[in-house]
């Protein structure tokens, strides 16, 4: 059965970490240390170096290496309208994609929660967009699907009066979001489906006997039950989607103009086209600080959603 982990009773006294000897404490700690040290070294050091470079004047393509720059990189970042718009765009794209994907995810999950012939096959079909390599998905959408001259979408929409629309030039922003949604709806579907299947059947039966309508049952019983699953899906989806890069790089290359330049793509551009290590680092630091603010809320939500099961 699919259930979110419950808070269980406190662990047996003999197994508790409290009141254990020094030797025992180290014995417990030892297996954790390799992973802890590895994670600190590989994920934290680059950010410390980023902090250092953010105060340096350093361009790839210029000889002489790095020189102290004070806060000038930060001044540049805050003055750069492209940074601000990339930041806003990242947030709005993530919010739209996550909400729509979750909405579709709930609908699909309700559908898959019913028994019908071929349900397993349909579920398999629905999860495939999540498994396909994002770079492959982006290129296939950009070419065979959305091309103005031979794209399948234009052909499918022709009966509805759509003629050879150049989606990636005229509706770049929407097109990238559609692909993000297409890839992440399966993820939401699976999580919500797990929630639906963990719902007690007798309660739904009782509601039916009491004469509750389908909508009332959904609103009063199913939705509250699904809430932690929906929160979890939104949280995890946001963590991944805010870093979306492949689709932007391969479908629109941030354009036309800067209309699809998200924060990850902006940073990539600064580095790859402007060779600006110092400036990129400063933008990175600002991004990290903003992320930490958001993440501290997210972590609180995490603690609530997971309702920590006690260790043994």
């Amino acid at each position: 059965m699919a259930v979110l982990q419950d808070v269980s009773a406190p662990p047996a006294a003999g197994l508790r970490p409290r009141g254990v000897g020094r030797r025992e404490r180290w014995q417990r700690r030892l297996p954790l240390l390799p992973a802890l040290i590895y994670t600190i070294v590989v994920t934290q050091i680059p950010f410390l170096v980023t902090l250092w470079y953010s105060f340096q004047n350093y361009f790839w393509n210029q000889p002489g290496g790095a020189t102290w720059a004070g806060v000038s990189n930060y001044e540049q970042v805050f003055k750069d309208p492209n940074f601000r718009s990339a930041l806003v765009r990242s947030v709005t794209m993530t919010v739209i994609a996550v909400i729509v994907a979750m909405f579709l995810g709930v609908l699909f999950a309700m559908l898959l929660d019913r028994k019908f012939p071929g349900r397993g096959v349909v579920r398999t079909l629905i999860i495939t967009p999540f498994l396909i390599m994002p770079a492959a998905a982006a290129l296939v959408w950009a070419g065979p699907m959305l091309d103005p001259n031979f794209g399948l979408l234009n052909w499918l929409l022709e009966p509805f009066g759509v003629h050879h629309v150049a989606w990636l030039t005229t509706h770049a922003y929407g097109s990238v979001i559609v692909v993000m949604i297409w890839e992440w709806t399966p993820f939401m579907t699976l999580i919500v489906l797990a929630g639906l299947q963990g719902q007690a059947a007798d309660i739904l039966e009782a509601a039916k006997v009491d004469g509750a309508g389908a909508w009332a049952t959904f609103r009063e019983l199913t939705l509250p039950h699904l809430r932690p699953y929906i929160e979890l899906g939104i949280l995890l989806g946001s963590i991944y989607l805010v870093n979306v890069f492949d689709q932007v790089r391969l479908m629109t290359n941030g354009g036309p103009g800067t209309s699809t330049t998200t924060l990850p793509f902006y940073l990539y551009q600064q580095l790859d086209y402007a060779f600006n290590v110092g400036g990129t680092a400063a933008a990175g630091v600002v991004t990290v600080v903003l992320t930490i603010i958001v993440a501290s809320f997210a972590l609180r939500l995490f603690a609530r959603v997971f309702q920590f099961e006690e260790a043994k």
Partner: protein, 289 residues
């Protein structure tokens, strides 16, 4: 149930109509399910279909649904992808093995004989997942350059392992929590040491979970593009980069691209289809059983 005796016919009529309603309801749900499923699958289907077209049939209006299938684009892809698929395989398998080596003991230390601050440790691991790696890409490049790891497969193994480690720790921990406390206590009463406890009690129970965690790591490592694009050139270029290279500056390329995209995606799609049941648990980092 009504107490008034009813004739046979009176009972039969409403029952038959309810059955009819149920049947048509089922047909409706079935149709809807299949329409949604296939609709969602169309881009994948179109990719595979286009991969079998000759280049001249791939860029026509209206799009062609009947054509004489050819394997020529696949042949081209197979002849060109050698080093890329090798790099991808090494980076994916290598990083997944490294993840397991690090995550298994860590999960044990957070679940079975927990360290005092296991909650903080768990949060530390997951918080690294929230830091945008893109923000540190410049310095990562410089570090890689100075440590002579730039454009090396080792770099990808190290970074992919760090990327998947939090996920694996959370997931494997959730499987270890399912080992019944009584079994651990019984083993201890038998005088089993930590090692025997791990080998004889814990491992048999968590192995299926470890396998599904590994599959999730494989999926994410195989599909990764950003780090590979920025930190590798030729010696460690992976399948996503092969895909990008299959889009030329000019000429017809749609069939070729589709074949490359199909070949690049199929391994992970199959892994995902097989691991369907454990996918949810892995993606929710063990929150959902």
């Amino acid at each position: 149930m009504t107490a008034i005796p009813a004739t046979h016919a009176q009972v039969q009529a409403p029952r038959r109509s309810r059955r009819m309603r149920e049947m048509s309801g089922l047909a409706g749900w079935t149709a809807l399910g299949w329409v949604v499923g296939i609709g969602f699958f169309i881009p994948v289907l179109w990719m595979v279909l286009t991969a079998f077209k000759p280049e001249s049939a791939a860029e026509t209006w209206p799009p062609q649904f009947t054509f004489s299938p050819t394997l020529s684009e696949f042949r081209l892809v197979f002849s060109g992808m050698g080093p890329y698929i090798e790099h991808s395989a090494i980076a994916t398998i290598g990083s997944t093995i490294l993840v397991l080596i690090l995550a298994l003991p860590a999960a044990y230390a957070l679940a079975v004989h927990p360290v005092k601050r296991w909650r903080d440790s768990l949060f530390f691991f997951i918080s690294t997942k929230m830091l945008p790696i893109v923000a540190a890409i410049g310095p990562l490049y410089v570090i890689a350059l100075k440590t002579h790891l730039l454009d090396s497969i080792w770099l990808l193994i190290i970074l992919y392992a760090a990327m998947n480690l939090p996920l694996a720790i959370w997931m494997i921990r959730s499987f270890m929590l399912e080992v019944p406390t009584e079994m651990l206590e019984a083993a201890r009463l038998d005088g089993a040491g930590r090692l025997r406890e791990i080998v004889e009690v814990i491992m048999p129970i968590v192995i299926p979970g470890v396998v599904s965690s590994a599959l999730i790591c494989v999926i994410f490592a195989w599909n990764e593009l950003f780090l590979a694009l920025n930190l590798t050139v030729t010696n460690a270029a992976t399948m996503p980069m092969f895909l990008i290279s299959s889009v030329p500056q000019e000429g017809l390329y749609i069939a070729h691209l589709s074949a490359a995209a199909t070949v690049a995606s199929v391994p992970v799609i199959i892994v995902g289809w097989i691991a369907q049941r454990s996918l949810v648990r892995g993606l929710s980092m063990g929150a959902i059983k």
